[in-house]
Symmetry: D2
Subunit: 388 residues, 4 copies
């Protein structure tokens, strides 16, 4: 896509969904460091998400996490979102923080525990109905820590049964997005460890079930963009959870650890139709800002995804295809690298200007005084966090 106006149009229409929990406190098993100004309820999280959207222009959707974002009145929450120029994105279930879920939720050996877990998932669909959310996002911490602890195949049976019940409950325009993760918090075997497992379940469930690729959930050496290309080819890529990692599921800012990988991913997205609205890929962030200021970190993550997208769109597609066809390894690689080596910040600054935004969202936000304002206003109450 070498036509600059087409590139700009694509960048203007991109939507990046930010996670409500990214604005709250988070940490490692060793310590959660609290930060001044952190939201104390879902409404304040929406306000923070709105800041990100105000400065970037491409983040109008917010993922919720239940029960962290449970409120009395979802209509009020949805209305507040709309007032802020936002809409509710995916509803993320949480079946990993109740004491009953110590040995699993939907895959637990005890049917009573499984019932409780499925009921929570069904509640999430209710919340989708109430908020207009199109996506139920499922990540399970289910798994085992020790060999022999439970029956691996039996847990798959239970998982399949639970997913089928929830899938049945979905409305026509609602999707189920199934996430996979190789490790943590289950250490020996997670119940949905890889894309193959998620894909196999989604295939059996039907067209409304799709796979979520969280960029931090793979074994070292995994080629994530291959998975992206494969799932798009199969029509089974539902969403991304963008973040970055050096070793494990570090949940750092997207693009911070390996910007070249993010670019390669966005290249596969672009060439395989993933930016077309009808493909309906949800580009979400899923991050933990443990030591850095949260709103600015989300802004930088959004602009990192934009920059990777812009570079991917600047790849000279016909030159690339010609080099690939002729088996010219260095030429083909060179076409890709030319785009990656381009500084796209001026182009994105122009795009923003044309949208009536500041050229540099990060600087503009810092200059706005919002950070100081929330730090002074949001005093007292309990800061939002992972709730563990």
């Amino acid at each position: 896509m070498s036509d600059v106006s087409a590139v700009k149009a694509a960048l203007k229409s991109q939507v990046i969904e930010t996670p409500s929990w990214g604005y709250g406190n988070s940490g490692t098993r060793f310590k959660v460091f609290a930060q001044p100004g952190v939201p104390r309820d879902p409404f304040e999280k929406l306000a923070d998400a709105a800041q990100v959207n105000t400065y970037t222009g491409v983040a109008p959707k917010v993922s919720l996490h239940i029960p962290w974002d449970r409120v009395e009145d979802y209509t009020a929450l949805t209305r507040r979102a709309e007032e802020l120029g936002l809409r509710i994105g995916a509803i993320n279930s949480n079946v990993f923080q109740d004491d009953d879920f110590k040995l699993g939720s939907v895959t637990h050996p005890d049917p009573k525990v499984r019932r409780k877990a499925v009921d929570h998932l069904l509640e999430c669909v209710d919340i989708m109905d109430a908020t207009g959310s199109p996506d139920l996002k499922l990540w399970f911490s289910d798994g085992t820590n020790y060999p022999g602890q439970d029956d691996i195949a039996g847990r798959q049976d239970r998982l399949a049964e639970a997913l089928a019940e929830v899938y049945e409950r979905l409305g026509d325009d609602q999707r189920m997005l199934l996430e996979y993760k190789l490790f943590e918090p289950a250490f020996y075997a997670t119940d949905v460890p890889d894309w193959g497992t998620a894909y196999a379940h989604c295939l059996k469930l039907g067209p409304k079930a799709k796979v979520v690729v969280d960029t931090g959930h793979h074994a070292p050496g995994t080629n994530i963009e291959f998975i992206v290309a494969f799932l798009l080819r199969e029509g089974k890529l539902g969403a991304f959870d963008f973040n970055s990692r050096f070793y494990a599921d570090d949940d750092l800012m997207a693009g911070a650890a390996d910007p070249f990988q993010l670019f390669r991913i966005m290249h596969e997205v672009a060439v395989n139709g993933g930016l077309e609205p009808e493909t309906d890929v949800n580009f979400m962030l899923d991050q933990c800002h443990n030591i850095e200021a949260k709103i600015p970190a989300v802004i930088r993550s959004v602009t990192n995804v934009q920059e990777a997208t812009a570079k991917a769109l600047l790849i000279d597609a016909s030159a690339l295809a010609a080099a690939q066809r002729s088996g010219d390894v260095l030429a083909a690689n060179g076409v890709l690298m030319d785009a990656f080596n381009t500084d796209v910040r001026p182009l994105l600054a122009e795009v923003r200007e044309e949208l009536g935004l500041a050229r540099d969202p990060f600087a503009a936000y810092l200059a706005s005084g919002n950070q100081e304002r929330i730090a002074s206003e949001r005093v007292g109450g309990e800061q939002a966090g992972w709730g563990a």
Copy 2:
């Protein structure tokens, strides 16, 4: 399976297939060290495989590798195998050592190269017909070394097309076994990197297409026994390529690097029906004995697989199930570990004695003088090897 006679019966009926190329020279990219007595043609490889079967009693099948084992007269080769008490196992294709395959075989951008590759695969089916081999085993070195080098999804299209043509050619009792590998010799993206990719292709091809799990082909941290359990649950596990590894695809003796992992794998095989004849899982070795004597190394590998199987069969299934159901993590793990910690060598010695074999196949082979005999007899000619 706590009944000792049932355990013994299962051990007696186990079949482990050995690879013809395991008897030839192999090495790393740095050096192939030749060994005295190495076979100089496929017939001598059969003789070596027969030695392994003579001493272990459970290795009556031999995998061939084409073109390394190409002969004028496959009927003669098959007859020779029968005379030696062997039968021909899987036919392994090789589309990675012809100069035309530098940038791929069935996924190559050039249709002429793909044609050549598919023709080779079809020739392998002819050889199956001629030898009575039930299994076509496909491993592709196809992939790319550099980002942008070729179109990832396009290569999948070509792969699917090639597999479909070969699948059509299979007879009613012939299977296609598709292997996956994360890395090497393609460095950036292999075209069948993981079980998910192999599974998705096999699913589309039909019931005769199954997945091969090579224990050395995964990313670090991958739980292989999960994959085994999952594929058995789906009816899609076709075969193992057993070997062991510390970092990459080291192709060391099975059970040498992580005997506990091999035991866990055999446990999942056992509890998910993988030892039943009707499940038709082919237990193959795929190894390179670069620095150790080859026949003895294969014998040890076979006995390592037997020991892992015996331990898996000794697990107290009802105690395990009870502990799992009650959520007693330590008890369940303890049942598994009890079996692993058992010294099963006396049991296997008894099994062998009951089969009329020596109690210790490794020692018996060394005492037989065969190693010295082949070293003195097999002089001149060209030693068999990977042929690279």
Copy 3:
């Protein structure tokens, strides 16, 4: 060491130190699941450690963690330990849970924070004086999450300075044990990532500074027993933190994930003099029993280490050396595997019987009723935990 009585003597004299925090609640960043009967103060932790020692006979030492085990009166704590047949082992510092340490402790850019951190370390030496503890164990969570966040070499300078001040404070019979860790909770660069870094600092500090090998702190593929052999050869191995892991720092029971690795480690310990009292290697456990009962889990960990040690001691040293000298790869490996494949549980049962203990410590503890007793007695108050 093929002489059984010598093996038994070595097993009887082995000492495994258990961690006070292993008896308290722990978890992942997602959730800490509380368990009934968990200690509410350091005195109750000592009582639990005494249970482990009562049943295993080889765990008379307990590591403390400051501030988790901070008490008013260390003399009282030490006296209580003695009454229970225990003594105080290593004092573990904690400079990772104070809000000031968000960006580091001894390597923090701000000298005031560094001062606070060093003062804490000096306090730990005071506690060593008060309790008779011989070892100051230092693990630093210090590091950075993002490239550029701080100056890597500058942090080394600050680390060196802090270590030097604390080293100076040590008494003649006190040691500093420096731990390394590749990842978590710092994600980009930890300040003591590997044994080389710890070794280089210890070398400069002097003979009282030694390296701690935590078996869960390495990159995938690292050969830990090589490090053990190398450090013993250099006289710089101070201690182990035993635990096991599948992917990251899972802190599972020692020997649970890879019993063969634990055996190989103990083999290097044994052949390089690490079991000799004068080598003064401290064999500690450092584990988190997130989902399994804690005292029984520690007992199993202790017996796992004992079993690995017993197997290592049973290796036929002269046969091994002969095979190694002659370059007989399979024979040498076979000698090692013979020992590993031996079921040493009967031998250890005998050892225990000769010590006046029950043959099976795990079963004996479960039968003792202690678990039920503490669950009913330890009600109210705040359960001990990681305190994060």
Copy 4:
């Protein structure tokens, strides 16, 4: 270093050494694909290296590999180099391709084999004398494939002894550069697996012994720039072997797999004095161009290193230091990313123009017709390669 003229001066004085074997054929254990025009002797390799220097202007040094580059008359070879505007760089020893070295070279259990290996190393010093090479580069494939195969600590003793003898032989201006590698071709334990091992040996040898960091020789997740910073701080970084990798030691073009990592490495080099001539860091490439044209691949690798260096030099040092001191994580990371996101190709084009070179070395080389010329001229004879 924000002063553009200083940046340019640094870029002009940078020297990147290219490996003679990078111009010859190479491959994987599966296949070596020959390429047209590949050199047939060391003199032709020099001619190819001269091409790289002609177009990049920063590659006047060539590493030799003995015995691959063994010639009758080293004076003639050196003179030829000078005529081509080159000088001889490091002499790389090869003690891994002789049949005697199957179980090791300097660490082999047999003293006769060790003698042979040390003699080869001493011969390499003779060649240094003859060619004016300043550096003896040592990489050992020594190690073991199976647990128990040999005595880990004993092999360290033999290694230390061999290194000491060779170190003694060095002249005043000659250095020993010791390389480490975690895996391959030894699979279980390599004898110099990590920087810590190399560092410990170099420390004992003395000031002329320094460590080589090959960017492809680490475990996954290793922070290479930390090692670089640490070794520079210790005065023990002797050289780089640049290349890139996705999983193992892929030996791809430097900067191809992770350009951000290469930038981070060059940042640590720059801020820790590694670009100063007196630090004497040798910036070498060590790569295998298995499927891509070799001279152009080396040119791209050189320009990739230049681009990473340029970006590192453009980092606003005072802004970075200020942000680091104040603990502003996002600001500090932002300063680094600003430099990385800059397109430095125009700057490098200017640098080249000022040196009288073409702005784009890759394009200029391709336009020169040299590739076609060598393909037509270098026919017959035996192509140079790894010689395995």
